[in-house]
């Protein structure tokens, strides 16, 4: 009986994930956004900093983190807020699927989308200098954790607003400061002392640190600490999202 239920739930989760892929993520505008956006970031940093191709590893952690952050949060603003607005999300809430699984299914596509986004600067960098010194296991763990935490951050924003434009505006309120505060392109230690506590409160700081460690071996913290803090953020954001869905959507 319990096994039968689990299989039914898994089918529902897979169904939601497949539907989101088909309806949103695999649409040409989103594919081009997923490729172009990281491509432009990468090109911009090279032109602006005038670095040699061999120095790409220096900006790679920042580019990967940005690609994931913007990819995941932008997509959730559409897939969740838009569906909510069109009342299509009610269809999901009516399904005999635990809310936690529904949220996981809904975010699964964005996590995958963010992970694929991260591959664009990574492939460019790999083509340019081979990335000989990279700790690949650490790098992929970092990519996955950043994708998950950014997705839940996007979901937290999406369930806090009613309109797609509000979700985008609210997202930018978090996203743009993170570019400067999370040690993506320069160390947190170089920030004014008054801003540094803000950095420690943002999950991307730990994700970027994990990436710096995996790509350039110049992390501030041990990978274990970064991973634990990221997991803590993931659990907290997930719980907050569930609470908000309950309070705002099943009122």
């Amino acid at each position: 009986m319990r096994r039968n239920m689990t299989v039914r739930h898994l089918r529902a989760v897979w169904g939601i994930l497949r539907k989101d892929m088909k309806a949103y993520y695999l649409k040409p505008p989103n594919i081009s956004w997923g490729i172009l956006f990281p491509l432009v970031w990468t090109a911009m940093f090279f032109v602006k900093t005038g670095r040699e191709p061999a120095d790409i590893a220096g900006v790679l952690p920042g580019m990967i983190a940005l690609s994931i952050l913007f990819g995941t949060t932008s997509m959730l603003a559409v897939t969740v807020t838009f569906e909510r607005k069109a009342k299509a999300f009610e269809r999901l809430l009516l399904a005999p699927l635990p809310l936690g699984l529904l949220v996981l299914a809904k975010t699964g596509g964005a996590i995958l989308f963010g992970t694929v986004n991260a591959m664009v600067p990574l492939l460019i960098a790999f083509g340019m200098n081979g990335l000989q010194q990279v700790d690949w296991a650490g790098l992929f763990a970092a990519v996955l954790l950043i994708a998950v935490v950014s997705t839940f951050l996007g979901l937290f924003i999406a369930v806090s607003v009613n309109e797609v434009f509000e979700a985008q505006t609210f997202s930018n309120f978090f996203r743009f400061p993170m570019i400067f505060l999370c040690g993506l392109f320069f160390p947190v230690a170089d920030l004014p002392a008054v801003l540094q506590p803000l950095s420690w409160m943002l999950p991307l700081t730990y994700g970027a640190d994990l990436l710096h460690g995996a790509i350039n071996a110049d992390a501030m913290f041990s990978p274990v600490i970064d991973i634990l803090v990221l997991l803590l953020f993931i659990v907290l954001l997930f719980a907050l999202c569930l609470r908000n869905v309950h309070r705002r959507w099943i009122s």
Binding site: R8, R18, K19, K22, Y24, A88, R91, L94, I250, S251
Partner: protein
């Protein structure tokens, strides 16, 4: 043990701030019946359906669906129910066929089973030719039919329909009503909210009249119509307003009741057949031309107006 296809609601209440949307509502929907929930817009119909289906939390009261107590755990009975919301909320980016398969997946149906079921339902709902068309390209009537088909994918024992024929053409509405009767014959319990009284009269075995969040009356259509049986109403369209002639009409025809409805309209009711000729002659002598005279069938609408004091045209206002 309660029957697997019935709904039992006791003292259900829900407020939004100062507004009491649903106020201590109690009713039972019996196994296999079509139960109508009638009321004007804002009466609390959608709030009630949302509480029954798990989209809203009741402030108080008990809900038992198919023998499962779900006031505290609305997910518990969701596998038993299918819901047709008041808006056609399927995915415009997916085809009709893909939409149905997706809805089957939400209920854990295996891939092959949901494909077969989707084809069967598309056939049943006359949408086979549009199976591969995007839902966004469907007409309103086709959308409503597909939304009902989507609710039927997992073969629910109980079907909730919120204004299923609202805003669609006459032909599609008739087709949907036929489909609902077919489902009823197959044993599905149907909970139907509507503000179209004639629709409820045609489809339902029992109805509840809901006004301002409270149930005014629940009964079978036959019992509700009992007090108006034998009554007759004639409506005259006149060349001018007959207000000044009302007293004279009542003196001359003491067994009839007269009332002025819409401008230039005179309604005459009686508990016996109303002869038209004497009335036309009298009005003619008063200098009023009779443009049209029609006999009105006494219907559930009349019962609703008598019980609630709400005129039928207010019910028909679109959402």
């Amino acid at each position: 043990m309660a029957n697997a296809r019935n709904i039992d609601v006791r003292e259900l209440s829900k407020s939004f701030g100062d507004i009491q949307a649903v106020d201590a509502v109690s009713f039972e929907v019996r196994d296999g019946e079509i139960f109508g929930f009638l009321g004007p817009n804002g009466a609390g119909k959608t709030t009630t359906i949302n509480m029954l289906t798990g989209l809203a939390r009741p402030d108080s009261g008990h809900i038992v669906i198919g023998g499962i107590e779900c006031s505290c755990n609305p997910k518990a009975a969701q596998h038993l129910i299918g819901v047709v919301p008041d808006e056609s909320n399927l995915y415009p980016e997916l085809t009709g066929f893909d939409n149905l398969c997706f809805c089957g997946a939400l209920y854990g149906m295996p891939a092959r089973e949901r494909r077969d079921r989707a084809r069967d339902l598309l056939e049943l709902f006359g949408l086979s030719n549009a199976a591969e068309r995007l839902f966004g390209k469907y007409s309103k009537g086709m959308k409503r039919r597909l939304v009902i088909a989507a609710a039927m994918m997992h073969e629910p024992a109980i079907l909730f329909l919120d204004e299923p024929t609202s805003g669609i053409d006459v032909q599609s509405a008739r087709q949907i009503r036929r489909l609902l009767l077919d489902l009823h014959r197959a044993g599905t319990t149907i909970f139907l909210t509507t503000h179209q009284i004639d629709e409820a009269e045609r489809l339902c075995q029992r109805v509840a009249f809901l006004v301002a969040g409270r149930i005014r009356r629940i009964d079978t259509i036959d019992n509700l119509l009992q007090p108006v049986r034998g009554h007759e109403v004639m409506v005259f369209e006149l060349s001018r307003q007959p207000d000044a002639e009302l007293a004279g009409l009542e003196r001359t025809f003491p067994s009839f009741s007269f009332s002025c409805g819409a401008p230039g309209q005179l309604a005459v009711s009686a508990s016996r057949t109303i002869p038209v000729a004497p009335l036309v002659r009298y009005l003619d002598e008063c200098g009023i031309d009779v443009l049209e005279a029609r006999r009105q069938k006494m219907s559930l609408e009349e019962v609703f107006v008598r019980l609630t004091g709400i005129e039928a045209h207010r019910m028909k206002g679109r959402k």
